[in-house]
Structures are given as C-alpha cells and as structure tokens.
Amino acid sequence: MNRQEILDELKKVLAPYTENKELLAGITEDTNLLKDLKINSANLVDIIIDAESKYNIEIDFDSAEKMMTVRDCIDVIGNKINA
C-alpha cells in the first residue's frame, strides 16, 4: 500500500471517533488526531486496535505512542505493513 492508500483506509478507521465529518474529509498528514480532529483521548486505544485489524498488523507500545498526527499514523502503519 502506498501512503495515499493507507490514508484512505485510515479515514475509515477514524470515522467512528470523529464527530466532524467535514474535518475528517479534509485531513492532511499534518492533522493532529486530538487537537484538530477533536478525537477524545479515550478513543486512542480503539483506533490502535481498529488499525491493527484493518491493516492486519500489530502495533507495539513504542509505535502506538507516536501516533498523534496523520503522518505519524501513516509512518507507523506503513512500516508495519512493510516489515
């Protein structure tokens, strides 16, 4: 998967936890999950678990704590897919 394909799937992962769908539609790699998308921090683990299922990967502690922006998420997911 290239970065755009990962991003397209990531939007589906984030959708249940994002109140403002317009913000979600317009995300860029700089978008911060908490500050920009206003996702509640209580849902961060849900996103990790859903991403693991969506991409058939396992996201370890060290990688999970880096996933604060869309860019971070794509980097972590891309590295796990290609590992």
Partner: protein, 225 residues
Amino acid sequence: MPSTGNDIVSLALIDKERSNDSRFYLKFITPSEEALGRQVELAHLSFERYVWLCWSVKESVFKYLQRERPQMVFSPVKIVITNIIAPAIASETQRVDEDWEGDASGEENYRGSLTAEENTYYFRSKISASTIATIVSDDEKCKDVIWGISHIGQSNADLQSEQVRSFVLKRLQTFFPGKALHIEKVPAGYPVVMEGKKAFSLPVSFAHHGTTVSYSLLLAQPIEY
C-alpha cells in the same frame, strides 16, 4: 513544579465487551495492574470499570506532568498504578450520579498511588453510575486540590470546552471575587488561568467525555497578579 491533572470517562461511551478484551486493555495496563484489578478488595468493581479507572488515572498524571514537560509523549504502560484502596462506602458512591464540586482529599473516594517518570504520585477517583473521574497530586492526601464534575446537555466538542471553562471560572469567582479571569490554552496543550494578559500561578486541568466535564485546580500556590 506544582501541577494538577484530571480526567473523566463517560461510561455510556465505553465498549464493555472490548474493555474486557485483553487485546484492548493490555495496550495500556501492565500485568501488575491487571493483577491489582483482580484483588478481592476491588471485587465490587466490574473489570471494565477497573480498566477505565486505570485509564483515567494514567491520563490524569500525563496532564499533570505535561505542564512541567511539554514535550512529553503519553505512554500509558510507563505509568504504573501500584496501589488502590476502595472507599468504605463504595457501593453507595456508585449510586451517586450528580454534579459535584469540592475538596479532593475526602475518604469517600477511591484512592491510590502510582509511579511515573521515576516519581510517586497519588490519585483520587469518583466512580458513579455514569462516570469515572480522577485527579492526581504529588501530595498523598491530595491537599489543596479543588475538583468539579458536571453533566452537560450535549457532547459537542466546542460545547464541552465552553462549558468546562464556564464551570471553573464560576468556581474561581468564589476564591477571587471581582476578578475578570479567563482561560487560555498554551501551545503545549494545557490551560492557564489569566487576568488580562497576566497568568495566574494557579494550575488548572480540564477533561471532558460525552456529556460530562470536569476540572481540577491546585490552590496552594501564591497568586501572581
């Protein structure tokens, strides 16, 4: 650096089945904490509530530490809860589900300790039918921490933010009557109490989830005008 941190979890929004799944909770709970949750003293507390109690404690201490370490990354497995004591009237507190404000040092709360960044911190938690709310302090008795929990009508993020600010400013007026105070958020992400362009040396923390908001204030510090 004196600080404060709090968190609130709306139980209506948690996925009960997922919360009991080890694949989920082991993302932020350590094996020692899992064992702690199975202890007899906490038997009245369902495991999913225990899981979210742990989350709220960890989120609270992260907010506490973020004030002194703005670049800190939230790494919940590196924050370890070492002790939890249930209140003597735990079954009664579970039925309380109303707005509340007061001092955090009371024995009616769940209380315990944790380690983070090689230091020990202490927490108080209130568990009601609809929420789990927690404050963290560096003082064992959580002295001088003022705490508030409120239920609001909607879960809109902007409204949550507006309501929690209004809630804490109303409380601050009882301590500083006549002062035109407002709240600003610094780029690192934590809130600061301001009068005009001057910041008060008064640590404050906000939390919201669903239709609930909460704050904690540390009042022990000298106030700078």
